[in-house]
C-alpha cells in the first residue's frame, strides 16, 4: 500500500492493470536485489553448518591452539596454528613488497606525474591487476622460486623450492595495483587548497606531501592496506602452486609453509568421503578466513567513510 501511494504522487495511473504490472515488476526488482543478500548468508551458513559438523567431531579449542595438523585417517589431529602462522608470514612478505611500492607509486602518480604519463601508466597497472592469479602462481613456481634458490645458493643459504618468500613476493606484486589504485584515488581527492597553503608557507613539494597530504589521506591509505591484507589472506592460486603443503611452524621465510587456502583446496580435491573430518576441516578453515576477511573489510569501509565524510568526496 505504501508503495502505491508513493508512486501515485508521481503519476496517475488510470489503468488498473498497468498499475498491477508496474507493481509486479517492482517486486521482481526487489526479489533480484535480495539475491546478493542471500548469497552472503548462503556463504555464511553453508560454511558455518559444515564447520559445526567438524567441531562436533574434533575439538574447537585444539583447532585454535594446537600445533599439529595431520589429517591422516587414524589419530588425525587438527591444530591450525602452523597453518595460521604460515598464512601470516606469507601475507607479511606480500605486504612488505606491496605497501611501499603501492603507496609510493600512488604518490608519484597523483602528485608528480604529468597527465600524459598518468594516462599511460595507469592502464599498465590495470593490466597487472587483471592478470589471473593462476598465471601469477605459475610465474612464482616456475620462475621466481628457482631464482630464489639459486640466489640463496650463491650467498650460502639453503632455500626450499616451495619457499614462503617466492609466493610472498609474487603475491605482493599482485597486490600492488590494489593498494596503488585506491591510494591514488584517495590522495587525489585531498583538496588542493591544502597543498597550496603548505606550498605558500614555503614547504617543498616533498614536505607538503609528507606533512600535509599523507596525514590527510591516511584513513584512505589504511583502508587500502586492509583491503590488500584481506586480498593476501584469501589468495589461493599463488600459494597452491608455489607454497608448500606441509604445515610448518617456523619464521624462516626460505622454508616451505602452508596457508589456510592451500589446506582448503587440498582437503576438497581429495577422494575422501564428504563427512570425514579431513574434508570438513576445509570448512572450519574457511570459516576462520571468512571471519577475518569480513572484519578487515568492515574496518576498511569504516576508514574510507571517515575520509569521505571529512572531505565530502563522493567519487570513492
Amino acid at each position: 500500500m505504501k508503495l502505491n501511494k508513493k508512486s501515485n504522487t508521481i503519476f496517475e495511473s488510470k489503468n488498473r492493470s498497468t498499475q498491477l504490472k508496474e507493481n509486479a515488476i517492482k517486486y521482481l526488482l526487489i526479489a533480484a536485489s535480495t539475491i546478493s543478500v542471500l548469497t552472503t548468508f548462503g556463504i555464511l551458513f553453508s560454511i558455518l553448518f559444515e564447520a559445526i559438523e567438524f567441531f562436533k567431531l574434533k575439538s574447537f579449542f585444539y583447532f585454535l591452539t594446537g600445533t599439529e595438523w595431520s589429517p591422516g585417517v587414524e589419530g588425525s589431529k587438527f591444530g591450525a596454528v602452523p597453518i595460521f602462522a604460515g598464512t601470516f608470514v606469507i601475507t607479511f612478505i606480500a605486504m612488505a613488497v606491496a605497501l611501499p611500492i603501492g603507496i609510493f607509486s600512488a604518490i608519484y602518480m597523483s602528485e608528480y606525474a604529468t597527465n600524459s604519463i598518468r594516462s599511460k601508466v595507469k592502464p599498465l597497472l590495470e593490466i597487472l591487476a587483471g592478470i589471473p592469479t593462476v598465471v601469477y602462481g605459475f610465474f612464482a613456481a616456475i620462475t621466481v622460486a628457482p631464482l630464489i634458490v639459486k640466489v640463496c645458493e650463491v650467498i650460502g643459504l639453503q632455500a626450499s623450492f616451495n619457499s614462503a618468500l617466492a609466493s610472498g613476493i609474487v603475491m605482493g606484486i599482485m597486490i600492488i595495483p590494489v593498494i596503488s589504485s585506491l591510494s591514488d584515488d584517495v590522495i587525489s581527492s585531498v583538496p588542493d587548497s591544502q597543498r597550496k597553503g603548505a606550498l605558500a608557507l614555503g614547504l617543498t613539494t616533498a614536505e607538503t606531501i609528507k606533512s600535509v597530504v599523507l596525514p590527510a589521506a591516511l584513513p584512505g591509505i589504511i583502508s587500502a592496506c586492509l583491503l590488500g591484507v584481506s586480498k593476501a589472506l584469501g589468495e589461493t592460486m599463488i600459494v597452491v602452486m608455489a607454497a608448500g603443503l606441509r604445515p610448518n611452524l617456523t619464521m624462516n621465510i626460505l622454508e616451505d609453509m602452508t596457508t589456510v587456502t592451500v589446506r582448503i583446496v587440498d582437503a576438497l580435491v581429495g577422494d575422501q568421503a564428504f563427512d570425514s573430518p579431513a574434508t570438513l576441516s576445509a570448512f572450519a578453515l574457511g570459516l576462520a578466513l571468512f571471519i577475518v576477511t569480513l572484519i578487515l573489510n568492515i574496518i576498511s569501509v569504516y576508514y574510507i567513510r571517515k575520509f569521505k565524510s571529512k572531505y565530502k568526496v563522493n567519487s570513492l
Binding site: E22, L29, V37, G102, S105, Y108, Y112, P132, A141, K231
Partner: protein, 401 residues
C-alpha cells in the same frame, strides 16, 4: 669548469648576504629530490615487474607455437590396423609420438586406398625429441639421440606451426595436448555466468538506483554488495560445493555449477558498474518522461536503460573478464577434471582455461611448461581483447551530458 665554480662562489656570497637565506634549504631541496626519485623508482619497479613477467611468459610460451615433426616410413597393412606400433620402423618408434601412431588405424579407415602401401610421411615427433630440437632439457637414450641427429642431417626433422594446440583437447601425451576443450568449457561456463548474473545484476542496480527509498532494507543490500565484492573467491567455491552440489544435487565438475558460482562472484561488479551507468543519466531525461505522462517503468525501460546501456555493457565485459580468469572456486567445485573431448552441454564435466593451466603446471614432463606458458598467453590474449572491447564500447557510445 672554472667558470661554473666561480659562478657558484658568487652565488654563495650573494646568499650569505641575503638575510632570508635559509642554510638548511639546500638539504631540504636535496631531500625533496630524493623523495621524488624514490616515488618514481617504486612506480618503475612495479612496471619492471610487469615487463619481466610478460617477457618471461613470452620466452617460455612462444616455443610451443612450433612442434617438431619427423619424416618416417609408414607401412599401412592389416597388421598395423591391429597394432599400429608395428607400422613404424622399430628404431624410429621411440622418436615418433605415441599419439600420432595411434591415429594410423583411423587414417586407414577413413582412407581405404592407403591399405597395403608404404609411404614417407611427416609425422608428429615425441615430446622429448621436440624438447631436444628446441634445446631444452630432454631425456633421450643415446641411441635415439643419434637417430634424431641422423634424421636431422637428412632434413627429415622439421619445426612446424603447432595447430594441434588449438584444435585438440587435453592429453596425457604432451605433444598432443591442446587448449580447445578448456576454451569451449570456458565459453559454456561464462554463458551460464552471464545468463544469471547479467539480468540479476542489472535488475538490482535498477532497483537501487531508480526505485529504492533510503531505508534499512536498501542500506543492508548496499553494505552487502560491498562485502560480497571483498569475500575471498575460494569461499564462493565452498558455497558452490555445499549448496549447488550437495544441496541441489547439480552435477559436479559441470559448467552449470561453475557458471552459477562465478555468477554470484561477478554480481557485485555488474551491480556497481550498472549503478554508476544509471546514475550518469541526467535527471532531466526522467523528468521529461514523467512530464509526458509516462509511468516510472516506462521511463526506465524506454529512456534511462537505453542511455545507460553502453556503460552497463562495459561493466559486464569487465566482470566477464574477471570471471574468466578465476580458478580457485572452480577447483573446489571439481572443474579440474581431465577432459580430452570438448563438452557438448552445460551439465557435462568440463574444465576451463585457467584450470587447464593449473593442471598443466602440475605435470611432471618438461614439455608441459611451454604448453602452460602458451595457455597463459592464450588466456591473456583473450582477456586483453575483452578489456579492449570494453574500452572501445565506452569510448564509442559514451554520452557526455
Amino acid at each position: 669548469m672554472s667558470i661554473k665554480n666561480l659562478k657558484m662562489k658568487k652565488m654563495k656570497k650573494q646568499n650569505e648576504k641575503n638575510i632570508f637565506y635559509d642554510s638548511s634549504l639546500k638539504k631540504r631541496h636535496a631531500s625533496a629530490k630524493r623523495f621524488k626519485i624514490f616515488a618514481m623508482s617504486s612506480l618503475v619497479t612495479a612496471i619492471a615487474f610487469l615487463v619481466f613477467f610478460i617477457s618471461d611468459m613470452l620466452i617460455k610460451g612462444l616455443p610451443a607455437l612450433q612442434q617438431t615433426y619427423v619424416q618416417v616410413e609408414i607401412t599401412y597393412n592389416d597388421k598395423s590396423m591391429k597394432s599400429p606400433r608395428g607400422s613404424v620402423d622399430r628404431k624410429l618408434r621411440r622418436i615418433v609420438s605415441r599419439a600420432a601412431i595411434r591415429e594410423i588405424p583411423r587414417q586407414m579407415q577413413n582412407n581405404p586406398q592407403l591399405k597395403n602401401t608404404t609411404k614417407f610421411k611427416w609425422i608428429l615427433a615425441d615430446d622429448q625429441v621436440d624438447q631436444y630440437i628446441k634445446g631444452n632439457y630432454y631425456k633421450l637414450k643415446n641411441k635415439d639421440k643419434q637417430k634424431v641427429d641422423e634424421l636431422k642431417k637428412q632434413n627429415r626433422v622439421e619445426l612446424r606451426f603447432n595447430s594441434i594446440f588449438f584444435t585438440h583437447g587435453d592429453s596425457k601425451i604432451p605433444e598432443f595436448a591442446g587448449i580447445k576443450s578448456a576454451l569451449i568449457g570456458s565459453i559454456f561456463t561464462l554463458l551460464v555466468t552471464m545468463a544469471v548474473s547479467f539480468p540479476i545484476g542489472v535488475m538490482t542496480a535498477i532497483y537501487l538506483e531508480e526505485f529504492a527509498d533510503d531505508n534499512k532494507f536498501t542500506q543492508i543490500i548496499e553494505v552487502n554488495i560491498n562485502n560480497l565484492a571483498a569475500i575471498p573467491s575460494i569461499l564462493f567455491g565452498l558455497l558452490g560445493l555445499a549448496i549447488f552440489i550437495n544441496l541441489f544435487g547439480l552435477p559436479r565438475s559441470s559448467a552449470l555449477v561453475g557458471g552459477l558460482t562465478l555468477a554470484l562472484m561477478t554480481l557485485p561488479i555488474i551491480i556497481v558498474t550498472a549503478r554508476a551507468a544509471l546514475r550518469s543519466v541526467p535527471d532531466s531525461i526522467r523528468q521529461a518522461g514523467y512530464g509526458l505522462g509516462l509511468t516510472k517503468i516506462q521511463v526506465v525501460r524506454d529512456h534511462v536503460l537505453p542511455l545507460a546501456f553502453p556503460g552497463i555493457m562495459t561493466g559486464t565485459i569487465i566482470g566477464l573478464a574477471q570471471a574468466m580468469g578465476e580458478t580457485a572456486p572452480l577447483i573446489i567445485v571439481g572443474m579440474i577434471a581431465f577432459i580430452p573431448d570438448s563438452p557438448s552441454s552445460i551439465t557435462e564435466a568440463a574444465t576451463v582455461m585457467p584450470a587447464q593451466i593449473f593442471t598443466w603446471a602440475g605435470m611432471p614432463e618438461r614439455a608441459y611448461i611451454e604448453k602452460t606458458a602458451m595457455g597463459i598467453l592464450t588466456l591473456l590474449t583473450v582477456l586483453i581483447s575483452l578489456n579492449a572491447i570494453a574500452v572501445y564500447l565506452r569510448k564509442r557510445f559514451e554520452t557526455k551530458w
